[in-house]
């Protein structure tokens, strides 16, 4: 594939019309929460964008992230964007193996020094270098070497961003996230188990268009995709507001599509674009399929209680308990303060004034 090809050439070769392309640009602008006036800029940037070199490293992972991207099957616009970068190294997808594969990585690093984008999925074991190696190089060393001359790092999936499943208790390999090891490079966290394909391509599109890292939240995630909780954007939210909850997976409430909060939905504490971008070319997302959100884009989601336990499951009536607690608290504090005051007052009355006689 010639490196001089631009995205527009490539799209036309794939039978994508300019109308289709502009439509993609509009969607991208919407996803990135940019004003419509920037759509031409995105189109222009992408039309003339050269294929940046991307090196994809996979460490302790399940290949789900790669699966997610490949499932955004051709000819969707997302996968084309992905075709359009020069993916110079990717264990699972590359044809080369052994020395040839490693040589490709080294060549790409050399040719694109300080310009390539490093994508990482999977967590990095720090317990013993032998826990996970590629071509005889342990994961940590490979990450450090490859990150050294990267322009930016995109950590893909919850393992690479926050340690994910390998990091779950008892964390036998002492797995850590990319950001625990690399401190001197811009890192964009794209968590999810796996992340949504358009979120991954959207982050890359932003980088290609503006040459900058998107605005990130305190967990290093692009705010445009992770700015709202699933709960805030959930189509079942009205049921939550009305207090209509499914109590079991097969009751009338579940059938009527009521809120899944009591069945363990982690939507209120999970930040991701599932409820808006959805999955499988915008078909649906877990809650729409009747499954509570498990909070997979949040750190340590595996260890945050059971998936089917409600976030704050009350065991008794909240109102009665609160009233009883307040009453009990008030009585206790009055009693405690009374003991305190009377004891102190009595003691003050019996005060032994210290004089020089006590200094004999």
């Amino acid at each position: 594939m010639s490196k001089q090809y631009t995205l527009m050439d490539h799209l036309q070769g794939q039978g994508i019309t300019r109308r289709g392309f502009l439509k993609f640009c509009s969607i991208t602008a919407t996803m990135l929460a940019l004003p419509p006036s920037l759509i031409p800029q995105i189109a222009k940037a992408l039309e003339s964008a050269k294929r940046p070199s991307v090196i994809w490293l996979s460490f302790q992972e399940c290949t789900g992230c790669t699966e997610s991207i490949t499932r955004s099957h051709a000819p969707t616009i997302e996968s084309l964007i992905f075709d359009f970068i020069s993916l110079d190294y990717h264990h699972t997808l590359q044809a080369a193996s052994g020395h040839a594969a490693e040589a490709a990585r080294e060549q790409a690093m050399k040719d694109n020094e300080d310009q390539y984008i490093l994508v990482v999925d999977g967590s990095i074991p720090t317990g013993n270098p032998g826990f996970s190696t590629i071509a005889g190089i342990d994961n940590k060393q490979m990450l450090i070497d490859t990150a050294k001359h990267a322009a930016a790092i995109v950590a893909v999936g919850t393992c690479a961003t926050y340690g994910g499943l390998p990091h779950a208790d008892p964390n036998p390999t002492n797995a850590v996230a990319v950001s625990d090891i690399i401190k001197d490079k811009p890192i964009i966290n794209v968590p999810g188990c796996p992340p949504i394909p358009i979120v991954m391509t959207g982050v890359l599109a932003h980088f290609l268009t503006f040459g900058t890292i998107p605005d990130l939240d305190d967990l290093g995630r692009p705010k445009m995709f992770y700015g709202n909780s699933i709960h805030d954007r959930c189509y079942r939210r009205p049921f939550y507001e009305k207090g209509l909850f499914a109590e079991t997976f097969d009751d009338e409430g579940a059938k009527a599509g009521w809120c899944l909060f009591k069945l363990g939905c982690k939507g209120p504490t999970t930040y991701n674009a599932c409820a808006t971008a959805k999955w499988n070319e915008g078909t649906s997302f877990p809650i729409e399929a009747g499954a509570p959100c498990i909070g997979c884009s949040q750190p340590d989601f595996w260890d945050n209680g059971g998936f089917y336990n409600a976030l704050s499951q009350p065991t008794i009536s909240i109102g009665e308990t609160a009233a009883a607690a307040i009453a009990a608290g008030a009585v206790a504090s009055v009693a405690a303060s009374a003991i305190h005051k009377s004891a102190k007052a009595k003691a003050a009355k019996k005060h032994h004034t210290v004089t020089t006689d006590d200094m004999e």
Partner: protein
């Protein structure tokens, strides 16, 4: 009342909502142990700061909590006996300098050294106090100074100072801006301090005076832990200052004297002061900032500076001495932990006035010794007469080659002569 009942009563008198919160919020994390030089140097767990108040905590549980009262009513509470008081007396007096380092590190924000100070009230009231400290306090109450220094002794020293400096020392000047207080140690052992004050105030044209009725800054009542006696000693200074109608009172180079007059004073006498209290280092730094201090020449020696605990931790006087030293030297080699987390010399909080604690004082001085040796210098500057004395004794005990100087007198050496 028997002595143990008096003690229990005095413990209860000290309780308030913050004490109650403190007793309930300790999580036994052990950070205070590592912050206390008595613990680190002896490795004896009884010197863990929060443990030092265990007896007071027992009093709180029995008298101030519902469960404690319940247990006491059915005879399950362990009473506080005279033997307990004798045993804990050695911990709260000999094994604590009230340096406040533990209060700094407590993640629950418990003012441990503040509680120990309050716990001492019960020990004083029940006569469970170290003899040396008791006798010093008696002298302070009856003679005006824990060392027995009286006015004729001061006047005799002033004559020497006037002769040495060629300056007259103002005494009982009504309407002066500043009333300078002195510690007995300065009068008897370090009269250079008085000379330095005279030189600096003459140089900076500061209107100041001493007071013949209130020259003693130290407060034995604070050290032994009796608010009754401490209030009387503070009252002496207040009446002297009010009589002379001064605007400011200067606390000298003495740690607990500063805490006594600056922080505890108004609470002890129950009314606000009509004057403002300032530590000598704060005043000197203020004069420096106003451009009223001019120095000449520079001191070429390498030296280290010992931050007195009461100054840095209770008063936040950290940068002031460094600004002042910066005027005439660049030779300062800071100790590890210098500033607010500096280690205590081991003689504060009445320990230096308690001969029974002497051996322990020498053991814990090892901490300061290590700090000093780390800097590799043979000269130490400080700003507290008691620290100075303790370090001198410690250096003597360990055969250290160490020269110890007060900051104010060193600064006075480098003043530019007035035209």
């Amino acid at each position: 009342m028997s002595t143990n009942t008096i003690a229990l009563n005095a413990f209860v008198e000290q309780m308030d909502s913050s004490m109650s919160a403190y007793f309930q919020s300790c999580t036994h994390c052990g950070l205070c142990a590592e912050a206390c030089l008595f613990q680190t140097e002896t490795q004896d767990p009884k010197y863990t700061p929060i443990h030092k108040i265990e007896l007071m905590k027992r009093a709180w549980q029995q008298e101030m909590t519902l469960t404690g009262k319940l247990l006491k009513s059915i005879g399950l509470a362990k009473p506080i006996t005279d033997d307990d008081l004798s045993e804990w007396e050695k911990v709260v007096y000999d094994g604590c300098t009230l340096c406040g380092r533990c209060s700094m590190v407590c993640p629950a924000g418990i003012d441990i050294s503040g509680i120990i100070r309050k716990a001492r009230e019960a020990f004083v009231a029940s006569k469970h106090t170290p003899e040396g400290l008791r006798h010093g306090t008696k002298r302070a109450m009856e003679l005006g100074s824990p060392m027995g220094v009286q006015l004729p002794a001061l006047l005799a020293q002033l004559k020497h100072v006037e002769k040495d400096t060629g300056l007259s020392i103002p005494v009982d000047v009504e309407g002066a801006d500043y009333l300078a207080l002195l510690s007995s140690m300065e009068i008897m052992y370090y009269p250079e301090y008085i000379g330095a004050l005279a030189k600096i105030f003459d140089h900076a044209n500061v209107s100041w005076t001493l007071c013949s009725e209130a020259f003693e800054a130290t407060n034995a009542g604070i050290q032994i832990g009796s608010s009754d006696l401490a209030a009387e000693l503070v009252e002496r200074i207040v009446s002297g200052a009010e009589k002379l109608k001064v605007k400011h009172v200067i606390s000298p180079e003495c740690g607990h004297a500063y805490t006594a007059i600056r922080w505890e004073g108004p609470n002890l006498i129950g009314r606000p002061f009509s004057f403002h209290v300032i530590h000598i280092l704060e005043l000197l730094d203020q004069l420096r900032a106003e451009g009223r201090l001019k120095t000449t020449g520079s001191w070429d020696e390498s030296f280290t500076f010992h931050d007195p605990c009461q100054l840095v931790r209770k008063g936040g006087v950290v940068q002031e001495p460094r600004h002042l030293m910066g005027m005439f030297t660049t030779g300062l080699k800071e100790m590890p932990d210098a500033g607010v987390m500096n280690w205590c010399c081991g003689g504060g909080g009445g320990v230096s006035a308690n001969p029974r604690a002497e051996d322990l004082k020498h053991i814990v001085f090892n901490k300061k010794k290590n700090q000093i040796e780390h800097t590799g210098v043979n000269t130490l500057v400080t700003a507290c007469a008691n620290c100075r004395m303790t370090i001198e004794e410690g250096a003597e005990h360990y055969n250290m080659d160490l020269n110890i100087i007060g900051l104010t007198e060193k600064l006075a050496e480098y003043l530019e002569p007035n035209q």
